[in-house]
């Protein structure tokens, strides 16, 4: 039992618990909270894995950004806090079987793969594991991005730029998609068909 193991245990438990919570809770709000816990714990796992940069990104982008966005979506689309959408019993049972099968298959693979790649924590000569320390990964990652630091000499600038542009396009598109449909809002007394037509007109205009 090392400190890393202990911390891993804590974080892994939190992550798995959060994930299970996401899957199990019916309330979207609770799911969101579970997701926050899960993702934060995964960020902790990243810190344990000597990847503070990734962890920080996970926190700031995922937890601080994406999940807030999701909660925002919940707020905008959910009629009430307690409202739940039920699914059928048969579906639940079949889903349970599928989940067990999937978990078994993945677990079996994970154990097999873990055996194949033994990768033990790195200790120094005094037996103190340096896992919990925060190594300087920022500069290596940055240099790797530029294709300067690593041995391979292959940078990630092009993917980075592609992803940047992609992100920009996606965000513009998202903003456009989610913009307020004023005509629909302005005519509440119109019958549903008309409303739908108006909306589809709007879609047609987009096309």
């Amino acid at each position: 039992m090392t400190g890393a193991d202990a911390l891993f245990g804590v974080f892994a438990a939190l992550a798995c618990g959060g994930a299970l919570g996401v899957a199990a809770f019916r309330s979207v709000a609770r799911m969101a909270f579970s997701l926050v816990v899960c993702l934060s714990a995964v960020a902790g796992l990243f810190f344990l894995l000597n990847a503070p940069m990734v962890g920080a990104t996970q926190l700031i982008v995922y937890v601080g950004g994406t999940v807030v966005l999701l909660i925002f979506g919940v707020m905008l689309t959910d009629a009430g806090v307690g409202r739940r959408m039920k699914i059928g019993l048969l579906e639940t049972i079949s889903m349970t079987f599928i989940a067990i099968g999937l978990a078994a298959a993945l677990g079996w693979t994970a154990v097999g793969l873990g055996r194949a790649i033994p990768g033990a924590p790195v200790l120094d000569e005094e037996g103190v594991e340096i896992v919990a320390a925060t190594p300087d990964t920022l500069r290596p990652i940055g240099l790797k991005f530029l294709g300067l630091g690593g041995e391979s000499g292959v940078g990630f600038l092009l993917p980075f730029e592609i992803i940047s542009v992609h992100l920009l396009v996606v965000l513009i598109g998202a903003a456009y998609l989610a913009r307020a449909k004023r005509r629909v809002d302005a005519t509440p007394e119109t019958p549903p068909e008309a409303t739908r037509e108006t909306a589809s007109d709007g879609l047609g205009e987009q096309a």
Partner: protein
């Protein structure tokens, strides 16, 4: 390594279950996030435990590792997940504006 992989497996399973069993579109999105996170965990774990990245020209079949590439991949996953979430949420909102609900079962107009 095994532990991380198992955590990842649990995350993925929960994500799939979430996707398959949630009728709320946002819940489905959360399942997607979980699946993506499982992938991230695998990437970073591989970066840490896998053999280090070596130049391709000297790499043998079993020596090709990930190294920091895994972390970078994880970064990309996170960023793309953010983009995905933004678009998906926009679609959910558009859907909600049209149908008055975020129930994915209502989105079955393309059924055969």
């Amino acid at each position: 390594m095994t532990g991380y992989l198992i955590v990842s497996a649990v995350l993925l399973t929960c994500g799939v279950v979430c996707m398959a069993s949630k009728r709320n579109a946002v819940g489905v999105l959360m399942g997607v996030e979980l699946v993506l996170n499982a992938a991230s965990v695998n990437f970073v774990a591989a970066a840490e435990f896998g053999p280090p990245a070596v130049p391709v020209q000297v790499a043998t079949a079993d020596a090709i590792g990930v190294g920091l590439d895994g972390q970078i991949a994880a970064l990309f996953v996170i960023v793309l997940a953010a983009a995905e979430a933004a678009v998906a949420l926009a679609i959910v909102l558009a859907f909600f504006n049209q149908h008055g609900t975020a129930d994915v079962d209502a989105a079955s107009e393309l059924r055969g």
